[in-house]
């Protein structure tokens, strides 16, 4: 179980970093989204993996760790907000500068 999740986090992070370093703004925004998946999964995993455990309080059963879940829930919503902001900034930048390069101008050939 741990191995699958570990590899998943690694692949998401690697793809995210690769896209983060690309020159086009759309690549960067996709990269940031992939990175945020990885980070959310990572934080979630810090509460350890619990399969088939009651997510809400029930009498006589154990519970999954609620704290990382609360953290990640917040992170997901904030992640949406930053993605939206970044998207609009990149659109505005593209409108102003006429290019979708991250530097706001085409690189010298």
């Amino acid at each position: 179980m741990e191995l699958v999740l570990t590899i998943a986090i690694g692949v998401l992070t690697g793809s995210g970093i690769w896209l983060l370093l690309r020159p086009r703004t759309f690549q960067v925004i996709i990269g940031l989204s992939l990175l945020s998946y990885a980070v959310n999964l990572f934080i979630f995993a810090m509460g350890r993996l619990a399969v088939d455990v009651a997510p809400v309080l029930e009498d006589g059963t154990g519970n999954s760790d609620p704290l990382p879940q609360a953290l990640v829930l917040t992170a997901i919503v904030i992640g949406f907000a930053t993605t939206a902001l970044f998207l609009v900034v990149l659109l505005a930048n593209r409108g102003f500068s006429g290019t979708d390069h991250v530097d706001g101008r085409e690189p010298p050939p």
Partner: protein, 967 residues
């Protein structure tokens, strides 16, 4: 008690007056002057009333807790020395206010002037009355700040701005050094209290920090008192209005430095280092200032250098390590304040009436303003040290001390009297120059204005000050005897020497030296007068060595050239390189602890589940595919990214976190829709298949690939090393055991969000609202790139089809596009809203909650937009996202604040069981209303973002406005 009150009044009144003065009308010169004058006179009266308590070695104290932790209280402390300064500051302050009333022209904005002047007076009083070192430094910096504002009062003049900035840079740097000294002294003594510090002289002198303390104190004092090599700011500060110069450079600002030296004299003086640094600096400044003063062509410039020279004299006296010399220094502080203030005022009157201060152009003014000329002559004679004036007495004391001084090197002691005579001759020479240059000689011609006597009350302050010079000169013991005694006693304590304040001590060596200096100065002036009549500004040998220019060059080099070089060397404007550096640094920093953690490698892993492995086979493939395709195939990359998101949501589900899975999947939907809306405004890009990438580009990609693989591997390794070891004791139990009894909910995640960590959530929804409004604002000014404005290709094809077929209107195809899904979407609206309500209501006990419900509503709305189009939806249903957001935020705040009414802290939740008609008793928590606020805000923010972006498509089809055909 009354004394304490007077003490507080003395410091607080000027600041209060400053605030009032700032709000008077711009042309209220008289009201301003009355106010400022009343404040100064009241301060003086308060000081005079305090005299009985401060005289004879008494100390008046007031203390109030201020910074209890570092051990610094707000404390005021007045002894004889502080009293003397308080009298100077308020007394000369009152005279300066009167003078300024006539000096400032009706065009000058006087509220600013008097407000700054009063604030400066308050700072100066705070400085001299400070009872602890930290507070002293605070007021010290305040004087720097307000003197900056005063010097730069005429900020339309370049010279005023430059002079003010120079003064501030230097004195504030000195203040910083002084702060260091205060901290060191405080640490060495164990207290910042001035009384305790003054009693700890032996401890400090033998402390291993003595040298650093001394250097830092001197850096502060020398910059403030314009001692060599920091003297050059003072002549530049002459760009200030003359009342400011008369105040700052006679009695206050520059005296703060020597005040500090005298104040700390019992603590720091008495060592050879003190002698050489303080005495040496004073001596150099005394000679240099005198020499430069002779060659100034500007009356105020002459007085500025003479001030430097006189401050050098005071510093030298303090540096001689002899109690008698210290008494002479204190005495000269008073004398210099009186004659220099009157001379500055006289120079200001000449400038005011004649229109110039250039000595080469002025002459023979005695004929036109005999009264002022007489006053100025008396004051200048006092400066030169002519008998029966106060300057003579302090000069006599200086000569006596120069003769008696015991120096670490005897040879130096032999030379000192001769140097004293030379310096004194310089003083005589520049005093003569001031008088002779301005008042004697042929009648002036070609002046900007015809000079005449100033108004009576403008001259009155000069009258008073010159009268003081005379009285002290004739009857020193009777006038200043007791004040000097109290001041000296509070510095020197038991070691106060016996001295005799008298005009005549018999014909001794000091008198002889005085006579030689007078004759020598007169001779020097006679010899130089021909040269000076036409010479340029500045002394012949030192003219080209300009301290200011050196200082400015250092500043330019430090703050501009080096900064530029550093930026060129290490900075880049390219975002990619900055991100590469960030990732690389993160990798390097994370590597060390990670390597240590991996070394343990306990294996406590469970067997992988094939189903989850399959999910991530797809999910990982999606992520890699998105990375691969994001440049040329944005839609594909977006869909693939959604795939990775789905895998993430499934994983949350898998590991018993349904709340997360719900949120993730809904956010995924909203994000995808959002990005789809954005895709249209990005440039078209076609895949180049010629493989023309340069080797450099290939190398960069290779490097990025290495970084990406290393980063992914690193994070995976980190996750692995955490996951394969048993969990430590977490605080999860705290929440699990208290969620039901204290939060009233079984869904612990939701209880944490709306109750335990409700304040975080409040912050989070505020951020969400702020982001939504920012997005909205950014899009209002959105200018799409020209090639994106066109109607999208698909609609063009549809329109072309409509035109080609008779019986069809243009737009028919577009309207009927996706007609069947649109109907389905319309039908989905009620179930989705019901689902949202369901998720919201059960949120406290079962997976769901405000966030998820809000997202659900937003999706239901956006689905209508997608199916029916903007116009179709908005003719039927107006969403007001801002109202939703405002309501949500207000409700969340109000719920939190409701706890206050019951006397509990913000956001404390309350459990109750109301009986609802038809349903029965329902257990409720007040957190439900908080969650309702969250819900409303999420609805508002999400729809605001989505609708704002969707509305951009209405821009596109707009006909071109400026007649650019064929666009």
């Amino acid at each position: 008690m009354a004394h304490e009150f007077l003490l507080i009044l003395l410091v607080a009144l000027p600041f209060a007056g400053s605030v009032v003065a700032a709000f008077l009308p711009a042309n209220a010169r008289n009201a301003e002057a009355w106010l400022a004058g009343a404040v100064a006179v009241a301060g003086m009266v308060a000081a005079l009333l305090l005299w009985p308590a401060a005289a004879e070695g008494g100390v008046v104290r007031f203390a109030a807790a201020w910074l209890p932790l570092p051990g610094a209280d707000f404390s005021l402390r007045m002894d004889g020395f502080a009293w003397m300064f308080a009298l100077l500051v308020t007394g000369i302050g009152a005279l300066v206010v009167l003078y300024a009333r006539y000096y400032m022209s009706p065009q000058d904005p006087v509220p600013r002037f008097f407000s700054f002047l009063l604030a400066f007076m308050g700072s100066m009083l705070g400085l001299v009355l400070s009872g602890n070192l930290i507070q002293l430094v605070f007021f010290w910096e305040l004087t720097s700040l307000f003197s900056f504002l005063l010097i730069g009062y005429w900020h339309h003049q370049q010279a005023a701005r430059d002079g003010a900035r120079l003064a501030l840079t230097l004195t504030a740097l000195g203040g910083l050094a002084l702060f260091g000294a205060a901290v060191l002294i405080g640490r060495a003594v164990g207290s910042y209290d001035l009384g305790e510090v003054l009693a700890a002289g032996d401890l400090i002198r033998s402390h291993r920090w003595y040298l650093p303390i001394l250097v830092l104190v001197l850096a502060g004092a020398f910059t403030k008192s314009a001692q060599f090599p920091f003297h050059f700011w003072l002549p530049q500060a002459m760009a200030a209005p003359t009342p400011v110069s008369a105040y700052l450079h006679s009695a206050t600002m520059v005296k703060a430095g020597v005040f500090l030296l005298a104040r700390l004299w019992p603590v720091l003086a008495g060592t050879d280092v003190w002698f050489w640094t303080v005495g040496g600096t004073g001596l150099v400044t005394l000679l240099l200032g005198g020499w430069c003063a002779i060659f100034q062509q500007d009356l105020k410039g002459l007085l500025a250098y003479s001030t430097i020279s006189n401050l050098g004299l005071i510093t030298l006296l303090l540096g001689l390590n002899s109690p008698l010399a210290a008494v002479a220094a204190v005495f000269h502080i008073m004398n210099h304040a009186t004659f220099k203030a009157s001379l500055f005022m006289a120079a200001g009157i000449i400038d005011h009436e004649a229109g110039t201060r250039d000595i080469r152009r002025l002459s023979g003014l005695y004929r036109l303003m005999p009264y002022t000329a007489t006053l100025a002559m008396v004051a200048a004679a006092a400066m030169a040290g002519v008998p029966l004036l106060n300057g003579f007495i302090s000069k006599e004391m200086f000569f006596t001390e120069a003769i008696r001084a015991t120096t670490p090197v005897p040879a130096f002691g032999e030379v000192l009297p001769y140097i004293a005579v030379v310096a004194s001759a310089f003083t005589v020479a520049y005093s003569l120059r001031f008088i002779h240059g301005a008042f004697f000689g042929p009648p002036p011609h070609d002046l900007p204005r015809t000079p005449h006597e100033p108004p009576r009350w403008m001259r009155f302050p000069v009258d008073v000050l010159v009268l003081v010079c005379l009285l002290v000169g004739v009857l020193p013991a009777l006038t200043l005897g007791r004040i000097l005694d109290a001041a000296a006693r509070s510095i020197l304590g038991a070691s106060t020497p016996v001295y005799d304040l008298a005009v005549w001590h018999g014909f001794n060596r000091a008198v002889l030296m005085s006579l030689v200096a007078l004759a020598g100065g007169a001779l020097l002036y006679r010899l130089l007068s021909r040269y000076l009549a036409t010479s340029p500004d500045g002394p012949p040998l030192l003219r080209n060595i300009d301290g200011r220019r050196v200082f400015e060059r250092i500043l330019v080099t430090l703050s501009w050239r080096w900064a530029r070089s550093a930026e060129a060397l290490m900075g880049t404007h390219r975002l990619q390189w900055q991100l590469r550096a960030l990732v690389a640094v993160a990798l390097v920093v994370a590597f060390a602890p990670l390597a240590r953690g991996l070394a343990l490698l306990p294996v406590a892993a469970t067997a992988p589940d094939p189903a989850l492995a399959l999910v991530w086979l797809v999910g990982g493939g999606c992520a890699l595919g998105a990375a691969w395709q994001a440049k040329y195939h944005r839609l594909a990359a977006l869909i693939l990214m959604g795939g990775a998101g789905l895998a993430t949501a499934l994983t949350f589900m898998w590991f018993s976190a349904p709340d997360l899975a719900l949120t993730q999947i809904l956010v995924e939907v909203v994000t995808t829709v959002l990005m789809l809306l954005g895709l249209r405004w990005l440039p078209k890009r076609f895949e180049r298949i010629d493989g023309s990438a340069t080797p450099r580009a290939r190398a960069r990609r290779g490097f990025d690939l290495v970084l990406a693989v290393a980063g992914g591997t690193g994070v995976a390794a980190l996750a692995w090393s955490v996951l394969t070891r048993p969990p430590p004791d977490t605080i999860a139990n705290f929440f699990l055991t208290r969620a039901l009894p204290e939060g009233g909910g079984r869904n612990v995640v939701n209880v944490i969000l709306v109750d335990f960590r409700g304040f975080d959530t409040l912050g989070e929804i505020s951020v969400l609202g702020a982001v939504a409004i920012t997005v909205f604002a950014l899009l209002r000014r959105f200018r799409p790139a020209p090639e994106s404005i066109d109607v999208p290709e698909q609609q063009r094809i549809q329109n072309a089809y409509d035109e080609a077929h008779p019986g069809r209107q243009v737009g028919d195809s577009r309207d009927k596009y996706l007609a069947v899904p649109a109907v389905l979407m319309r039908w989905m609206f009620p179930p989705m809203m019901a689902m949202a309500l369901y998720l919201f209501l059960r949120g406290h006990d079962l997976p769901g909650g405000g966030f998820v419900a809000g997202l659900m509503v937003a999706i239901a709305l956006i689905v209508q937009y997608m199916g029916g189009g903007i116009r179709w939806v908005e003719t039927r249903l107006r969403v007001h996202p801002l109202r939703w957001m405002g309501f949500g935020l207000l409700l969340a705040f109000a719920t939190g604040a409701g706890a206050w009414l019951a006397g509990y802290p913000f956001l404390t939740s309350h459990l109750f069981e109301p009986a609802l008609p038809g349903i029965g008793r329902v257990p409720l928590a007040s957190a439900l209303f908080f969650d309702l606020g969250v819900f409303a805000l999420v609805v508002g923010a999400t729809t605001l973002i989505l609708i704002a972006l969707a509305h951009q498509s209405l821009r596109g089809p707009r006909p071109p406005r400026f007649g650019t055909e064929g666009a």
